[in-house]
């Protein structure tokens, strides 16, 4: 099993859009997939039209086992299940703090799900907290969408500094460009300079009205608009990640 965390310190960079669409392709071609919505806002759950479960929350998530099993929901797509988020996740750091070995808790909770799922994708909230530490510990790959602007550079530096601080391998991080606007000169320049780094994917997710409207049609782009350029971009992103991680 592989755990892919879609993460960035910044909000609004396309994390949720990416998680939802990658999970869709992962399940369609390459094995049973679980999408974990870790963001108390629950946007990924919203895209799949799944309501937050009634008796579920941060504490139950961290207990794991049947508390998770009972709250996993099937999406509209075969092979793709999801654990919807709950608003109580906003206080998850407090709950984590009470756990023993608090930075390994999530990893421990995910372990038994390996039997059922070939892949787990985490849609992460934007911040650097004890939860992030848990996520980095549990993930085989930290996939970070980057909007090619100078500001993004700053948040990347913060991310790597944090990984260094908690002793995580910086090579877990894989970058790709998100919400790219061809006409913006700054985007092109930033991309050129950032490509000099290691582990930057070739596929670029363009800024696209079809993706922006996902909140309206509430489906993965490829399910609603299979012939769109946006769907093709996510598919290509998925294949590149698969090759890179050899999954």
């Amino acid at each position: 099993m592989s755990v892919i965390a879609v993460y960035n310190i910044k909000g609004g960079v396309g994390k949720t859009a990416t998680s939802v669409n990658l999970a869709y392709f992962s399940a369609q071609h390459h094995g049973k997939t679980l999408l974990l919505d870790m963001d108390p806002q629950g946007s990924a759950s919203f895209y799949f039209r799944i309501r937050p479960p009634k008796k579920f929350g941060a504490k139950k998530l961290l207990k794991g086992g049947r508390h998770i099993e009972e709250n996993i929901k099937g999406t509209d797509y075969p092979g793709l299940d999801m654990l919807p988020a709950d608003f109580s996740y906003r206080n998850i750091d407090l709950a984590l703090d009470e756990c023993r070995k608090s930075h390994k808790r999530l990893s421990k909770v995910l372990a038994p799900l390996q039997e059922e799922y070939d892949r787990i994708i985490l849609d992460c909230p934007p911040n650097l907290t004890l939860l992030s530490e848990n996520i980095f510990y549990a993930a085989d790959c930290i996939l970070a969408p980057v909007i090619p602007t100078t500001l993004s550079l700053l948040s990347l530096e913060q991310l790597f500094a944090f990984l260094d601080e908690i002793g995580q391998d910086p090579d877990k991080v894989v970058l790709f460009f998100s919400m790219v606007e061809k006409r913006k000169k700054m985007h092109a320049e930033m991309m050129r300079s950032l490509r000099e780094r290691n582990r930057v994917l070739q596929t670029v997710i363009p800024y696209s009205a079809d993706i922006e409207r996902m909140g309206v049609y509430r489906q993965p782009v490829a399910a609603a608009l299979p012939a769109s350029a946006a769907a093709a971009a996510y598919e290509s992103l998925w294949h590149e990640i698969r090759d890179l991680l050899a999954i």
Binding site: R49, I50, R51, N71, I72, G74, D76, D81
Partner: protein
């Protein structure tokens, strides 16, 4: 049985139309119907149901193949492949997912068309007020070729986490009169029946429940009739030459019959025994050459794999010649098998077994249980005796004889196995099997060496190239020989274990004169 009928499949009552059913569901759910499908598909499996045993069904629609789980109906792969004529093999499929799944399961067995069924229907998603799919319904009509009425089915597939909605669907179905649970494979099984087959109706394993009180004559007749049935059922496949396993299974049944006739004396009248020993010996003989060539040809891959690529063409040529020879032998085999003489002899065997003997043989009336133990024990002692005489220098021919001895013991244990406690018997069979595996590998290595020797002989004299080839083949022979020598070491060891006190004691305990103390 590994294919379970889904609990969530029902027959649609005649009084209920698909529209009526959907209207009832529409009262509580949004409905999203996929386009209707309709296709005539041909189900395929190996003669011995290898896919079905794995819980899989495979069907073709023209050159489009679908492999799916029998119970869930979930599609595993859908891919292009060959047109299913009379038969086809895994290697006829283009490289890809389907072939990768089929090859290990089917091995050298071919796929045969089993049932032709016309499938039509549609899938409907049931949506909640968020337009989220909470369950799926499939209404499908399955009409086996030749049958007049289709089976109309409704299937319910739940979505995880939406149990309450599923319960609602069940309630609506029940209220609409959907009550009769059905197998989702009904079209498949009915279609097989129309072809004279039913799932798992053939297995090469010998399995027959004897009853300890049966007389030896009754029991042996049932054993021979079971074997005769195996022979008869494999004949069409041998004649059509679908795959080498038909001939293999047929020959095993012949060999088992011959073993029976030679091991179990004085149960059938002497003249009968003699006559049919000759019949089956002849059957064994005229099926032999084709099988021998099959064995060589099956070793082709592993032989070629041992050679450096530059030397392979020579060996390939040799195999091509062998394949041509096999064609000739197969023709002879077909002629001999079709011959009136053969058909008549097999019929006579059946008649004889079913008829009362005019002059019963001396042991005919003995309870089979008393006879069985004696026979097995005798074979065991023989194997142990010959096995002990074995050492690293024993000639191949003698090792081969021992292999045959082991087979006879195995057959005897299989004939009468149902009379003994399962667990203990399996322990002994396992020990014996270990031995047989080693002997089998040993024999394979002999066969391969034999073949290389034959290849060497066919090399034209003289040229530099020939010399290179001869040298390589020589080296290869040496490596095979070496491997065989190493097996010999294991072999003595395995024999020592087989003949040890514990195994011997267990054999005696199981097959010895237990009845007297009981």
């Amino acid at each position: 049985m590994t294919v379970h009928p889904g609990a969530d499949t029902w027959l649609l009552p005649d009084s209920l139309s698909v529209e009526g059913l959907l209207a009832a569901l529409a009262a509580e759910f949004g409905l999203e119907s996929a386009p209707e499908y309709g296709a005539t598909v041909v189900y395929a499996d190996s003669f011995d149901w290898r896919l079905y045993q794995q819980g899989c069904l495979l069907h073709s629609h023209g050159t489009c193949w679908t492999l799916y789980h029998g119970d869930s109906g979930e599609v595993t792969v859908q891919q292009g492949g060959p047109e299913l004529q009379a038969s086809c093999r895994a290697r006829d499929f283009p490289p890809g997912g389907l072939r990768e799944l089929l090859e290990p399961v089917l091995g050298i067995r071919c796929l045969l068309p089993l049932a032709t069924v016309h499938l039509s229907g549609r899938q409907v998603r049931l949506l909640n007020k968020d337009d989220k799919t909470v369950a799926r319904i499939v209404v499908e009509s399955q009409q086996p070729a030749g049958s007049e009425r289709p089976h109309r089915l409704v299937r319910l597939f739940g979505v995880r986490g939406y149990g309450r909605d599923q319960e609602n669907v069940r309630r609506i179905l029940a209220e609409a009169g959907v009550a009769e649970v059905a197998s989702p494979l009904i079209g498949f099984t009915e279609g097989c029946r129309a072809m004279g087959r039913s799932p798992l109706d053939y297995s090469p394993k010998f399995a027959l429940e004897l009853d300890g009180g049966e007389t030896a004559r009754e029991a042996m007749a049932r054993i021979y009739l079971t074997l005769l049935d195996t022979i008869n059922r494999n004949i069409p496949g041998v004649l059509a030459d679908y795959d080498p396993e038909f001939l293999h299974d047929l020959r095993v049944a012949v060999r088992r019959t011959r073993s029976g006739l030679s091991l179990v004396k004085q149960v059938l009248p002497g003249p009968v025994s003699d006559r049919f020993s000759r019949v089956f010996s002849r059957l064994g003989a005229f099926t032999g050459p084709t099988r021998d060539l099959d064995v060589y040809l099956l070793a082709q891959e592993s032989c070629l794999g041992r050679l450096p690529p530059s030397l392979r063409p020579g060996l390939q040529e040799f195999f091509a010649g062998m394949a041509r020879r096999r064609q000739i032998e197969q023709k002879k085999l077909v002629r001999a098998l079709r011959a009136k003489k053969t058909r008549a002899a097999l019929n006579a065997w059946q008649q004889t077994l079913k008829r009362r003997d005019r002059q019963p043989a001396p042991l005919a009336g003995m309870p089979v249980r008393d006879l069985a133990g004696r026979i097995v024990l005798k074979r065991f002692k023989r194997v142990v005796r010959d096995g002990h005489a074995l050492d690293a220098a024993t000639p191949d021919a003698e090792v081969h004889r021992l292999r045959i001895q082991c087979k006879k013991l195995r057959y005897a244990m299989e004939f009468f196995g149902s009379l003994y406690p399962r667990h203990e018997l399996q322990t002994l069979v396992r020990h014996l099997k270990q031995l047989q595996d080693i002997l089998g590998n040993f024999n394979d290595l002999s066969v391969q060496q034999e073949m290389l020797r034959l290849t060497l002989k066919t090399l034209p004299a003289g040229s530099r190239r020939t010399l290179d080839q001869a040298a390589a083949l020589g080296g290869l022979l040496q490596s095979l020989f070496q491997e065989q020598q190493e097996l010999r070491a294991h072999f003595t060891e395995a024999f020592a274990q087989f003949g040890d006190e514990e195994t011997t004691a267990l054999f005696h305990e199981l097959f010895g004169k237990r009845q007297e103390s009981a």
